[in-house]
């Protein structure tokens, strides 16, 4: 059997390149935008941070999509499916590889934010001072930021397990349907499966939220429970995905 490390390595190589390319593209776009500003008018205060933040969003989305594609690729290609490991190891390593690349991207973004924020320190301070609302202590603010980050990461994982679930259910179902009007059937299948998966996941999420509401009087406890809830649903989806891989999902023929 191939070791986890080896599988992780081959899965991550391409993803690392892709992620790095997105980062380079992001930097290039930021640079061009700023240069454009310099050329046409003066750079206003806060523009470094602002431009970085506004390009960071699409870049996050791009990485998410590229990693999703890489994930799904693995399930239907002999190149990966024939690696001598069990489906569970293949699946979890695959997910972990994408997740680590996402973290890598996230850390680069934090660095970018820190750099641009320090350039625009005065401006940001001004904005923060201008925010009215509940007074947070540094500790509370830190907790909120970390909580939001964790929630974001949990959502990313849930996103991937859900995409896989839809893909694998459609792929497995395909084997049992007649070979006529393929495309039409596929479209219908995708719509139905996406609807079902989103409905079920939504329902479960809602239930978890209710549970949180009952168990605590809101605030921190509920928030943590929400994150756990998302992860639980992700795990359930992952288990179904692994089962589908084992039983029904075939690779694309030679």
């Amino acid at each position: 059997m191939t070791s986890f490390g080896s599988v992780f390595k081959v899965m991550s190589k391409d993803r690392f390149r892709t992620t790095s390319k997105v980062i380079l593209a992001e930097l290039a776009v930021i640079a061009v935008t700023l240069l454009w500003s310099v050329a046409t008018r003066e750079v206003s205060s806060g523009e470094f941070f602002g431009v970085t933040a506004s390009w960071s969003g699409p870049a996050f989305l791009a990485v998410f999509i590229f990693m999703s594609v890489a994930n799904e690729h693995v399930y239907t290609r002999d190149t990966y499916r024939l690696i001598p490991v069990g489906e569970t190891k293949l699946y979890t390593t695959n997910l972990l590889s994408s997740f680590v690349m996402y973290l890598y991207f996230g850390i680069v973004q934090v660095v970018l934010y820190t750099i641009t924020a320090s350039i625009d320190a005065d401006f940001i301070k001004g904005i923060l001072d201008g925010i009215t609302g509940p007074e947070y202590t540094n500790l509370e603010a830190g907790k909120i930021v970390i909580g939001l980050l964790l929630m974001g990461l949990a959502m990313v994982i849930l996103g991937w397990t859900t995409i896989s679930l839809v893909h694998l259910v459609v792929s497995a179902t395909n084997n049992f349907l007649p070979n006529v009007s393929r495309r039409a059937i596929n479209v219908v299948l995708y719509v139905v499966v996406i609807y079902l998966v989103v409905r079920v996941a939504g329902f479960m999420l809602h239930e978890v939220n209710n549970l949180g509401g009952i168990m605590s009087t809101g605030g921190q406890g509920q928030f943590i429970l929400n994150i756990v809830g998302i992860l639980v649903i992700a795990v359930i989806e992952a288990v179904i995905n692994i089962f589908l891989l084992k039983k029904w999902v075939e690779t694309i023929p030679n």
């Binding site: 693995v74 049992f176 039983k247 694309i252």
Partner: protein, 236 residues
């Protein structure tokens, strides 16, 4: 264990069509087996079922083990490298194989690359069909497996390369390993086959030692194979 492969009551349906039905097949270790049949007869499907890439019902034991996941470490299959982007260089593909397959022998791969005249600095997308097939063969034979499954290894290959591939099969097949070569075009591989398995009518139509065919019927493998189809036509 003298049987490298034991298939029992294997049935496979796809898109409501039965491709293979109640297939039984046993292969001994150390053989070169020709898997013959028309296009679409189910040769590739049979190989995919053995590797676990396709899912059927029935049991398949490889080296005595019927757990599908365990088959992968015993089998070296000519997979078509679909997991790689077209701009991947051959040496990077080889690195992938080296990392992922503990039985990948780098030394053997170097020898095969030299013998088959492959330039590893080329990118997958730039290869002709024949050149890509040679790369696939080199990767497949560089592993030290018990069962090699070569799916139509001669398609799109010129006759010089075909000869080289046949030579490399003889040279590099481990003595106790069994090799299954599928083809719908027999004459050139006939001399190297120990046995012939013919896939026809959703099953194994015949499974015979090739010298037994020559002795029994006094005809060549190709003529025998063709005669099965002619008889089929007369029956209809």
């Amino acid at each position: 264990m003298t049987n490298v492969l034991a298939i029992n009551q294997l049935t496979y349906k796809h898109n409501l069509k039965t491709i293979l039905k109640d297939v039984d097949l046993t292969l001994e270790t150390g053989k070169i087996v020709g898997l013959l049949g028309e296009n679409g007869a189910g040769k590739t499907t049979l190989m995919r079922l053995i590797t676990g890439s396709a899912k059927g019902s029935g049991t398949i034991a490889v080296c005595g083990d019927s757990v599908a996941t365990h088959h992968k470490s015993h089998i070296s299959f000519t997979e078509q490298l679909r997991g790689f982007k077209p701009n991947t260089r051959i040496d990077r593909v080889a690195n992938f194989y080296r990392t992922v397959y503990p039985d990948f022998d780098g030394q053997r791969f170097e020898e095969l690359i030299t013998f088959l005249q492959i330039d590893t600095s080329l990118k997958l997308g730039a290869l002709s069909k024949g050149m890509k097939e040679k790369v696939v063969i080199a990767l497949t034979l560089a592993r030290q497996a018990q069962l090699y499954l070569l799916d139509e290894p001669f398609s799109g290959i010129d006759s010089m390369s075909r000869k080289r591939i046949i030579s490399s099969i003889i040279k590099w097949k481990p003595e106790d390993a069994t090799m299954v070569i599928s083809d719908h075009y027999v004459s050139e591989i006939a001399p190297i086959l120990d046995e012939v398995v013919i896939v026809k009518d959703q099953g194994i139509y015949a499974h015979k030692p090739s010298d037994a065919i020559r002795e029994e019927f006094g005809i060549g493998i190709e003529a025998y194979y063709e005669s099965l189809y002619e008889r089929g036509v007369k029956h209809d």
